[in-house]
Amino acid sequence: MSRPLSRAALVSSFLRSFLIQGSWNYHTMLGCGFAFALLPGLRRLYGAEAEDMASSLSRHVELFNAHPYLSGVALGAVLRLERDGADPEMVRRFKLAVRGPLGSLGDALVWATWLPTVSVLALSLFWLGAPTWLAVGAFLVIYNVGHVALRLWGFRVGLAEGRDVGRRLAEAHFSAWTNRLRAAGALLLGVLVGVILAADGGLAAAGILWVSLSVVAFLAGLWVGHRAWRPAAATVVAAVVVLTAAGLVL
């Protein structure tokens, strides 16, 4: 039944993985996007065999979730398994087994560490008075070098290892990378705090009241964590409303 996967089909599936979250929903999550990204490969494998194609598609629109940057690991592995004519039930179990790890590894490495670390670097450049192109350009280039490299690595690992991707994921030492990045992020966060305090027109120039309130706010965030974010944003919005109203009345 199967034919080799062409380079064009693989490139097309990889490029489609950039759209994998396009139909994210609370019923099948990434399911439809996953099937959409697989389509070029499935077309190549099943050609005009409409029944096999429909059967494969119905398996792949099922519930699936992963971090989008690491979804290529599952995509590549499933293409490999489909090419090898693997048992459909085994492919289903494989997807079920990898979706948790691919989500949690990606969330910890990318969303909770890489993104804020590069953001803090770019914000430090902004507060240091760097030109727009440098602050924004540094953010986009540095972030996306890591982003695209991770997607490429994942897709290639999936294709090369098939159902044995777990070994390569373990060898990649995601936790160690995340810890190193967190240390770098903490250093850069310190730089940002120092720059905002001492820059011309920064927090120190606003006066001791605002420095004191900022310290209290920083400690609130540190102690209470994410539960503090929405109340803090709501407090700032309320303060803006109250101060504007005061200006109208006085």
Binding site: L19, T28, T113, A122, H147, A183, A186, L189, A199, L248
Partner: protein, 219 residues
């Protein structure tokens, strides 16, 4: 014409948030620079973008969670404040942007419920590859329209609010910046907690602060 351009840019940047690529063009710092340049106010765009980036440092587009939408928040904030010379333009623009970021997050959740009806039902075989492609591209189009509508409504409301109340703002520009940074400091605290906490990272944090102060003084 300008408002149409802002609406389209808002829709396109919203797509980058989760649906297309996630190259982080939708992050406030980048979105602020883009929309500021488009509106002829690059300095304001970058300032608003940097402020909202600080607020949203700990807001991630994770799968099923509801998160404030940075792209529409920034486009709304910059477009609301641009063109106004009133002292309250910046803080009121940022405040409206924060509110619209939350509304954007709610609209994303709503769209995900709509998408659940749009995508092929796993218990029934899809009608073929075209069915999957149409459902997926249809959802992308809906996300663009959602982002555009959220942006347009935010800009219309934001401009009206800035125009009517911007002149009544009672703080100096320095104090306004201080107020906005108080909110941003909460995010910085949460981020330090995410990065390992004060006890574990105190040496790096203090070393970084020293470097930052030296950099601000001598660069």
């Amino acid at each position: 014409m300008e408002i149409a351009q802002v609406t389209v840019i808002g829709g396109l940047l919203a797509l980058d948030g989760t649906s297309v690529g996630q190259f982080m063009l939708s992050r406030p710092l980048v979105a602020g620079a883009i929309i500021g340049w488009l509106l002829g106010a690059p300095g304001l765009g970058l300032t608003v973008g940097a402020m909202l980036e600080l607020y949203l440092l700990v807001s991630f587009p994770t799968g099923g969670s509801r998160f404030p939408e940075g792209a529409t928040a920034t486009v709304v904030a910059v477009a609301s404040a641009a063109g106004s010379v009133t002292p309250g333009a910046l803080p009121i623009g940022v405040a409206v942007g924060l509110v619209w970021g939350q509304l954007g997050g709610i609209s994303i959740s709503g769209l995900r419920h709509v998408n659940a009806r749009l995508v092929p039902e796993p218990t029934r075989e899809p009608r073929g590859p075209g069915h999957v492609t149409a459902a997926h591209l249809g959802a992308l189009l809906l996300d663009f329209l959602r982002g555009a509508v959220v942006t347009l409504s935010g800009v219309l409301v934001g401009r009206a609010v800035v125009e009517n109340f911007g002149g009544a703002w009672s703080l100096t520009s320095g104090a306004s910046l201080g107020l906005l940074l108080v909110g941003g400091a909460v995010s910085a605290g949460i981020l330090l907690r995410d990065l390992g906490g004060f006890r574990r990272r105190r040496i790096l944090l203090v070393a970084g602060m020293a470097l930052g102060i030296l950099g601000a003084r001598f660069l």
